[in-house]
């Protein structure tokens, strides 16, 4: 049963620390998305990649967030330095252009910045 995996599932850190979240997309999927979910803002698109190239990162605070795909099996989202307002659940999703739109979501990383 193919699924998107995310690590860690939970992360508690102190303000100012670096946070790295990892995502393994479903094998063969060529598009990877990062979303953030908060009570106030709901689900927001942060960035996404197609064939490992960044297509859109306009939803991401550029000064502290960075997203990369070192290879087709790994996507990373880094926050440096972290701030309390970054506390949220971060979801990774993957999809295939040829199937037009269905995104498969991982279980999320719940981040708490103290």
């Amino acid at each position: 049963d193919a699924r998107v995996t995310q690590t860690p599932r939970h992360k508690v850190t102190e303000m100012g620390q670096e946070v790295t979240m990892r995502c393994q997309p479903i094998l063969g999927h060529n598009t990877v998305f990062w979303y953030r979910q908060t009570m106030m803002q709901g689900l927001e698109l942060l960035a996404y990649f197609r064939n490992r190239a960044p297509l859109d990162d306009s939803g991401m605070p550029k000064d502290r967030f960075s997203a990369e795909m070192p290879d087709a099996t790994l996507a990373t989202l880094k926050i440096q330095p972290s701030e309390p307002r970054d506390s949220a659940v971060y979801f990774c999703a993957s999809g295939l252009v040829s199937t037009g739109g269905e995104q498969f979501f991982g279980p999320g990383t719940r981040l708490t910045v103290l």
Partner: protein, 116 residues
């Protein structure tokens, strides 16, 4: 800019009763439309999607949705709900230029509560 409105934050339905969750969108052209469901502590799962053609689309778990262009709506329905349907439901839109495969804009969600 595109937006999605789900006017009902919470809905309570008795088990076995019918359900309709509302979704309205604002977009320059007809977007790709999706409904996702999120169970507590889980990621989102696609229920159904609309790209073109028949305006009534069938999804998984007995759900269906109807696209109404004149009302910019894409409401989700189920004839008879089960206790396991209790979850958060999200409507989302995707840009037609992206073939539905680009990043989505989500509504704020509707929390569905099922009464025994």
């Amino acid at each position: 800019a595109q937006s999605v409105t789900q006017p009902d934050i919470h809905i309570t339905v008795s088990e076995g009763a019918s359900l309709e969750l509302r979704c309205n969108y604002s977009y320059g052209a007809t977007p790709y439309l999706f409904w996702y469901v999120q169970s507590p502590g889980q990621g989102l799962q696609l229920l159904l999607k609309y790209f073109s053609g028949d305006t009534l689309v069938q999804g998984i778990k007995g759900f269906e949705a109807e696209f109404k262009r004149s009302q910019s709506s894409f409401n989700l329905r189920k004839p008879s709900v089960h206790w396991s349907d209790a979850a958060e439901y999200f409507c989302a839109v995707g840009a037609p230029s992206g073939g539905g495969a680009d990043g989505l804009t989500f509504g704020k969600g509707t929390h569905l509560i099922i009464q025994p």
